[in-house]
Amino acid sequence: MSGDPAPMTYREAMRQAIREALLRDERVFLMGEDVGRYGGCYAVSKGLLDEFGPARIRDTPLSESAFVGAGIGAAVNGMRPIVEIMTVNFSLLALDQILNNAATLLHMSGGQFPVPLVIRMATGAGRQVAAQHSHSLEGWYAHIPGIKILAPATVEDARCMLWPALEDPNPVLIFEHALLYNSEGEAPAEGHTVDISRARLRREGRDVSLFAYGGTLAKTLQAAEALATDGIEAEVVDLRVLRPLDTAAILASVAKTRRAVVVDEGWRSGGISAEISARITEGCFYELDAPVARVCTREVPIPYPKHLEDAALPQVPAIIAAAREVVGNRG
């Protein structure tokens, strides 16, 4: 780690974040499928086994329920585990542990057993890996009280969200969009911290608010640049935290622009985009100049061929079109 800001990949940022946590707190350990000898299925934990040894970089069997549950038990019993699940689709095999134990133990025990656990997993589509490796279920998880949901979209957040997540006494799920691992950005200086309770304004604008997170942030920023050439100044809000939602930031932006488009790689029906739209309607209905619009993934299992996968996902032209629609086709 150097003291100066330097470009690095999202993958490297995440790796450094894990390394830093292992160095800072001896209660931290990493556990999951192929995190050790293989180096992580997305190579995030490459080299960590050599540096920290097999007690702290633990390869697990393909037993999502057992190793996620073991992370919960270890957290209850004084450790600070980081559990890696290969992809969100596989996390469904551990859903019992995540919902019935991690999210529930504290409340059900009357406040006696906090679960200071971090679960990281890859999410999202775009790599032609078809319907069992491509879904975006973070909005689904955001339905559950008792857990927190983070979606780092930038190198800065990939580098800086993990430590506060580990310091949080609650179970925190971190969703890393698989297409982001190779993305590059400026690495934050050493000691830099981020707030894991707030959304962040990524682009200021006055005409329309575009809400995005994770894998859709870059597309949304591209759409905003294109809209600007047509004279539409879009504000881009990176939600970053899907539970608890930063409702104040969402409403503040809409109060300013009076128009909103929610971009979400999850499905439309019952998704996080629906929740955001509802909060806007509940919180600032009379300030809206147009109905809230949504750009979501088409309601299909993600197909393998590129043209169908592309057609299923939110894309820049659809975001631009939706924004134009809510501003009344200006430009």
Partner: protein, 330 residues
Amino acid sequence: MAAKRTVDAAATHGLALYREMLRVRRFEEKCAELYSAAKIRGFLHLYIGEEAVAVGVMQALRPEDAIVATYREHGHALARGVAMGPLMAEMYGKVTGCSRGRGGSMHVFDAAARLVGGNAIVGGGLPLAVGMALADKLRGLDRVTACFFGEGAVAEGEFHESMNLAALWDLPVLFCCENNLYAMGTALGRSESEIDLCLKASSYEVPAWPVDGMDVVAVEDAARRAVTTVLGGGGPIFLELRTYRFRPHSMYDPELYREKAEVEEWKLRDPIPALAARLREGGALPDAVAEAMETEIAKEIEDAVAFAEASDWESVDELERFVYAEEAAP
């Protein structure tokens, strides 16, 4: 003299075991009554008939050891030392309950007793226990986690995943399988192609011992040997505690799946009269002592009920408290 002292010590311990089983039995008999009176609501799963298992295993555990139990856990809580007042208040759903009344019968938690529930998802406690033991191992703490579950749980994937992980990582877990022959209403042979539970555990290289779960002395003896092995770094042990529940699965169960004669036959092996007979044989349980014990327990239960009755409900203002932690985790 030494021999006499040993006999006295054995008799005293025998009496303590008897007393503990009787406390659990009488407490639950009262719970059944309170359920009929609609003081206790929701689900109520009684442990009556199985008391020797929890009472026997608890003898082998030290205060620093941890327990993960199921939704049929009143006996475990009492035998572990959870006070009867807060336990009864929990049954009522009162704020003075050991889980602030939020869990009820199925979710008894007590941090001081290191009792981590009261888990009502069959098999759901096993991964948790494996993680508790992993933490102890990583922290270099010489502690054991006892994980109770029924034989129904062996059909769950979580059983197999947990056996494998505990054995693979040599974790200090004492798996206590309470085999009462029925998963709700499904007999073992109707749901499992292989009904030898010890064989299943052994297939994961977990040493597995069948134990007469109707004999509290045998249970204690097996649990002590198992805990010694686990604490010596021997990895997990699986105890198959062969027992029987005399009451229905829950208060809603019409028991269509088993013959009354079978229940009566098992009642002949009731662990409480069985131990009483042995104690009487050795002169350790004179009638006066037995009567005094019943009176004491009745008083304890009466006090617990009074405590629960007099306790407050949690304020609705606190409904959302502890969804998230209010302070940094220790």
